[in-house]
Amino acid sequence: MDTLAVWTIKGGVGKTAASVNLAHAAAMSGIRTLLWDLDPQGATSYYLRALPRLPGGVETLLDRSLDLIQFVQPSEFDNLFLLPADFSYRHLDIALEEGAKPRKALAKRLRPLTDDFDLVLIDCPPSVSAVSEAVLRAADALIVPVIPTTLSMRTLEQVRTFVTTAGKHQPTLPFLSMVDRRKRIHLDTCEECLADDGFLRTMIPSASVVERMGVTRAPVAATLPSQPAAKAFGELWREIAERLCIGPGMG
């Protein structure tokens, strides 16, 4: 089982859209995928038409006597399952700090799910906190959305520094998100970013179909598969899978 975290410090960069669309693309390629919505806002759960509620909230999340599989929900899509958010996750930082070995807590919760899923994709809240540290411990790689702007680039540097100090030297894969080709600054920054080999090559365009996910409440590829944004998410997933050797490779 591979665990990927979609994480960045900055909000509003297309993190949740990426989580849902990448998880959907992975599932469609035959990977048994669990999308774990750790963001108390519950937008991922909303996009998948699920109630953002975990019975028992944070206590359930951290109670090792309860197997998380019993709270996993099937989604409308083949091979895609959801561990929904709960508003109580806003207290997850405090709950983690109060428990023993807070950095290992989430990794330990995932361990019993190894046989049930090939991939766990965590949609993290945009912050630097105890939750981020625990996610860093659990994740085999980080997927970092970056809007091609100066501030977003600065955030990426902060993310990389944080991963170096708090992570476990796992790959950090930034990708260009919400790219608006009409903007000069975007084009210039994209060029600068792609000069960095660490960046994933696929760019996700700024597109109204992605914004409309709030209305359709489904991954873009499920409603408008021929749209460039849908294809871009599919391509981005293939690139991630290839870099991280996540199968299956057929289809």
Partner: protein, 513 residues
């Protein structure tokens, strides 16, 4: 996680449900697809409660896997037809399928044209409570033409975690005309069109017996079951669908020979002798191909043993494949020969229910009187021979004991239906474990000899590298070690097989008192 439920929907439509749910029912457009149902020839998937289908829709092909251990179907897109589990990429489905189907080919046994429509049931917040899949499946014949009455079902896939809501959807479906459960399974209905029935083949003799049945009657039934097994496997051998067709065919022939030689004087002698002789011929004609299949099946294991030198046996594998192609040609020619057809005719005549009756008094004897005595005699013979062996025993002695063990095993299989299933299962399991030692030892001895012969052939061809011969030598050494290990564990296994507990069970079950 909640599981899906399928209901019969002959008299059900979205209209009534829509009246109840209003805008909380979202119906998607219909789509049409072709579904092919796959299983091994001996129904390994069906027997384990699994189902594998291949769906084709608008040029897209997906495999759908359901098993008792997972609540939700697994779906894998594929870009080509899959004939063996091993054709799949590494991953969940491959490991599940390899475990269930082994080396057997995945064959289409039925197909259907499916008109499918999805709908979602929402709660008041717009969250999905359930997904409905309405399907109208029409069985297709071999030429993919509609053949048979369509079967209509509605499947409820619970989404989310609110069980109360799921139950409410099921109740609404019932109220709108769906019935539970569906009367006909589409896979079974579609298989019937092609003359198949899930579970209709097993390589084991399938004979219902009563102890008061005449011996000749029972022996005919056993022989008929074995003849049917051979007949069922001929096409698969000729087409080389997978290696188990030849194996099953050969085992059925061996069983038949064993039945004829162990239960003598029950069927007319001339025909029995003719059949036994011809089965010997068929065994010899097909043996080399099976031996080569065994080596080729072992190639992955050989390569693992050789680790970094794995590539050194590439030439060896090429030789095996060349030899196997030749051996298969001989098998095909044997199975297409007049001699084989005559053999099958004799077999058929001999096993016919109203065939010629032997005037031997044994023929009319109740099978209950004969079977137990034969089994007990075969068991005692093994115990006696085994007790005389030195520790560790020489390979030739183990080989003789191995033949005795096969005879006992066949008797237990032929006449198992006369005894308690639980007892038989235990005895067969115990015997099988003992046979693993005997067979393993023999295989290792034979394989070492063959390996040396193959190495000589390669050297005689002149193009072989020293590394290949050296690697084959290493394999032979490992085989010798394993042969010794088998011999060393003989005593321990024999003690279990011949121990007081087993003897008592054999005596009690087959001793008649």
């Amino acid at each position: 996680m909640p599981e899906a439920t399928t209901l019969a929907a002959d008299d059900w439509s979205f209209a009534l449900l829509g009246n109840r749910l209003g805008d909380r029912l979202e119906i998607e457009p219909k789509s049409t697809l072709r579904v092919t149902y796959l299983d091994t020839f001996d129904w390994r998937l069906f027997n384990r409660g699994c189902r594998l289908t291949c769906e084709r829709q608008s040029g897209r092909k997906t495999l759908h896997w359901c098993s008792p251990s997972s609540a939700h179907p697994y779906v894998l897109p594929v870009d080509r037809d899959v004939h063996f589990a091993q054709d799949l990429p590494d991953g969940f489905l491959r490991s599940e399928l390899v475990e269930v189907s082994g080396v057997r080919a995945l064959l289409p046994f039925a197909a259907a044209r499916v008109s499918r429509q999805h709908a979602r049931v929402l709660d008041s917040r717009g969250n999905t409570v359930a997904r409905l899949v309405v399907e109208e499946s029409t069985p297709l014949d071999q030429s993919n033409r509609d053949a048979g009455r369509p079967i209509r079902t509605v499947t409820v896939q619970p989404i989310g975690a609110v069980r109360r809501a799921h139950n409410r959807v099921k109740k609404l479906l019932h109220e709108s005309g769906a019935t539970d459960p569906p009367r006909i399974d589409i896979a079974a209905a579609a298989a019937e069109i092609r003359g198949r029935r899930p579970g209709d083949y097993s390589s084991k003799p399938q004979t219902a017996l009563r102890p008061d049945q005449r011996s000749d009657d029972v022996l005919r039934k056993v022989l008929e079951s074995l003849r049917a097994t051979v007949a069922a496997n001929v096409d698969g051998v000729i087409e080389d669908t997978d290696v188990e067709f030849l194996h099953d065919l050969r085992v059925a022939c061996r069983r038949a020979r064993s039945a004829l030689s162990q239960i003598k004087g029950v069927l007319p002698r001339t025909e029995s002798d003719t059949l036994a002789g011809e089965l010997g011929w068929l065994g010899e004609a097909t043996g080399p191909c099976r031996d080569l299949d065994v080596y080729l099946l072992e190639m992955d294991g050989y390569r693992r043993q050789l680790e970094t030198a794995a590539h050194e046996i590439d030439d060896f594998e090429k030789l095996l494949r060349r030899e196997r192609a030749k051996a298969l040609r001989r098998v095909r020619s044997a199975l297409r020969s007049k001699r084989f057809h005559r053999l099958m005719e004799v077999w058929s005549l001999l096993s016919e229910a109203d065939g010629e009756v032997s005037d031997s008094p044994k023929a009319a004897q109740p099978i209950g009187d004969i079977a137990g005595k034969k089994i007990l005699k075969a068991y005692r013979k093994m115990v006696k021979r085994g007790a005389r062996l030195s520790d560790p025993p020489p390979a030739e002695d183990l080989h003789r004991l191995r033949i005795d063990a096969k005879k006992l095993r066949y008797l237990l299989e032929f006449f198992g239906g006369l005894y308690s299933k639980k007892t038989l299962t235990r005895l067969v399991k115990e015997l099988k474990q003992f046979q693993d030692i005997l067979g393993g030892s023999n295989d290792m001895a034979v394989q070492q000899r063959h390996l040396a012969a193959f190495a000589e052939t390669l050297m005689a061809e002149g193009s072989t590298r020293a590394g290949t011969v050296f690697a084959m030598g290493r394999l032979a050494d490992t085989m010798a070690e394993r042969q010794a290990e088998y011999a060393n564990t003989f005593e321990e296994r024999f003690q279990v097989f011949s121990g007081e507990a087993s003897r008592r069970i054999y005596q009690r079950t087959f001793g008649g008192s």
